[in-house]
Amino acid sequence: MTQTVLVTGVARDLPASCARSLAAHFDVVGVDLTPPRTDLGPVRFQRVDPRSPVLRGVIEKINPDIVIHSSRGAVRAKEPAVLVTMHLLAALERAAAFRHLVLLSSSLAYPATPSAPACWREDATDNLVPETTTQRELLDVEKYALATTDDVAVLRLAPLMGAGVRSTVVDVLAGDAVVTSAGFNPRLQFLHPADAAWAVEAAVEKRVRGTFNVAADDVVLLGQALRILGRPGVPVAAPFIKPLARLMNRFTTAHLADDAAEIAFGRVLDTAAFRAATGWTAKTSTRRAIKELAAQLPPGPLSLDRWDSYLDSVFGGSRA
């Protein structure tokens, strides 16, 4: 008998692509408050409000073996993510077949600070006091899930990057110019959506338990990323970043990152534990993923092609 997989938050791209790729081996049901933006293929979609008592009945009827829950989907529903997760887990108590939960968390569970270790390991959050609301919410959801069920895999995913990705990070990097924190050049580490979907598959297949970082292996500096994207960086002194971003985001169509710490100090994840547990490795590097985005965007003011013609005019044919 094929097992049933329940995927929450399928209106968003990542859960949707997870649902699609899992549909090859499982009977997949996707739920969300709003219908998905993309075609889910063989995935059955069921509209459900995670806050309503209907949820319990729906889940009892689906009776999933495996649940893929993304803790960040709930944030958009203007409902504390931890409450949505509590509702879901309570409903799952009634689902007889339920045996494995994969919780999609985020690298935002780690703080962006200058005194952070270069690579975050999963156990680093054990003794950490959350500094931002997002971080606290993510850690709350993780802790609740880990405390409620035994068989849970928490995947802390690096920000998604690649063609077709819609996210704040992409919006910021796609601007004509990118505000940077003057004098800081954070390390960026991304995850390609295909690798993310594959990681979820691997977690389901190996039925892993515990918390795991999931990210591409390599790191690219913001300065390098801007060169690849052909976007000029506009260095702004840290204290002025927030007011400037607020002004620009309010009165123009620009997307500026408003968190000074976020754009000054990156987060890099140590993915050794997940690789050891599942054999998963990222197929697309951070650099490749950024290049994919660059190919999709209109060329930036400092795009490589322009550099090429400029360099050709300076160095002639001497370049290889």
């Binding site: 004098g183 050049n185 500096l221 390098q224 060169r227 290889a320």
Partner: protein
């Protein structure tokens, strides 16, 4: 545009460089402009370190400080090791020079452990990571040592760096011995390094602690030339430097006691004693700080 190429070749020739290497330079510049170079997960930029940073610091070390290196044969050619050195001289030039010494003799890169102050500071944080430094914390030290890197640590930290000239070559507290515990856990040898000459390069005669507090600095140094002469006062005095690399101290004999604070303290003290004794004997040999 062949004219520009001719001019460039002429400029390269006048600068005393090999004209045939123009392609190499052009490619290097293009690589940098394209962002087409690798950094590791710590932000270490080998391309920059090897081709820009180390040549500059090497020139300063050899021509300005007339650096003499002893015991270079003690630097391991492979495998992880923890280099523990004394820290002095107001600004951490000694760590950069040690990095050049290690690269000169082994062709390996010394990965420095730095205070969080470095990573909080604009520009410095960027270049600190580029030359391979990372945060002085157990996680990073352990990760680097386990992957077989040479790691450099200055356990005196700002206490050593910012001490007045009257305390020169008097080792400060060696932290809480965290570095020793890490070396024992990762089973790598500790290599004690003694650096003479850095103390007098910036003789600190005062510390404007209130100004330092206002500027969020660990200290604000006053030397005979700084801040009076402005940027000129930041030129280090041409002292003569000697770096002594000691014999590796194996750590496996402590391995069974690595949770025991007394063992850690005595091991820390052994390393500290070694550096202090070597400093004294090196000092006895020299007549003045300058030659």
């Amino acid at each position: 545009m062949p004219d520009i190429i001719t001019e460039l070749r002429r400029a390269v020739f006048l600068l005393g460089m090999e004209p045939s290497r123009i392609d190499e330079y052009a490619q290097a510049i293009t690589r940098r402009i394209r962002g087409d170079y690798q950094v590791d997960e710590y932000g270490f930029d080998v391309d920059f370190t090897r081709h820009v940073f180390l040549p500059i610091i090497g020139t300063i070390a050899h021509d300005w400080f007339r650096l003499e290196v002893r015991g270079a044969e003690n630097l391991p050619r492979g495998g992880g090791a923890l280099l523990v050195a004394n820290h002095s001289g107001t600004i951490p030039l000694d760590s950069l020079v040690l990095q050049a010494v290690v690269h000169d003799h082994t062709d390996r890169f010394l990965r420095l452990l730095a205070a969080s102050f470095l990573f909080r500071s604009p520009v410095l944080s960027d270049y600190g990571r580029r030359i391979g430094a990372t945060m002085a914390c157990v996680e990073d030290a352990e990760r680097l040592l386990t992957s077989g890197e040479l790691v450099g640590v200055f356990p005196e930290g700002f206490k050593g760096l910012g001490k007045p000239i009257t305390d020169r070559y008097r080792l400060q507290r060696f932290g809480r011995g965290g570095f020793v515990a890490t070396a024992i856990r990762t089973q790598v040898p500790i290599i004690p390094v003694s650096i003479v000459g850095a103390e007098e390069a910036y003789p600190q005669i005062g510390n404007l602690s209130r100004l330092a507090k206002a500027l969020d600095l660990p200290y604000f140094p006053v030397t005979p030339f700084f801040p009076w002469l402005g940027p000129l006062g930041a030129v280090p005095l041409p002292t003569k430097w000697t770096i002594d690399v000691g014999r590796p101290i194996p750590t496996h004999r402590w391995h069974d006691h690595c949770g025991d604070p007394a063992t850690i303290f005595s091991a820390t003290d052994q390393v500290r004693q070694h550096v202090q004794t070597t400093l004294h004997s090196l000092l006895k040999e020299r007549s003045t700080p300058f030659w």
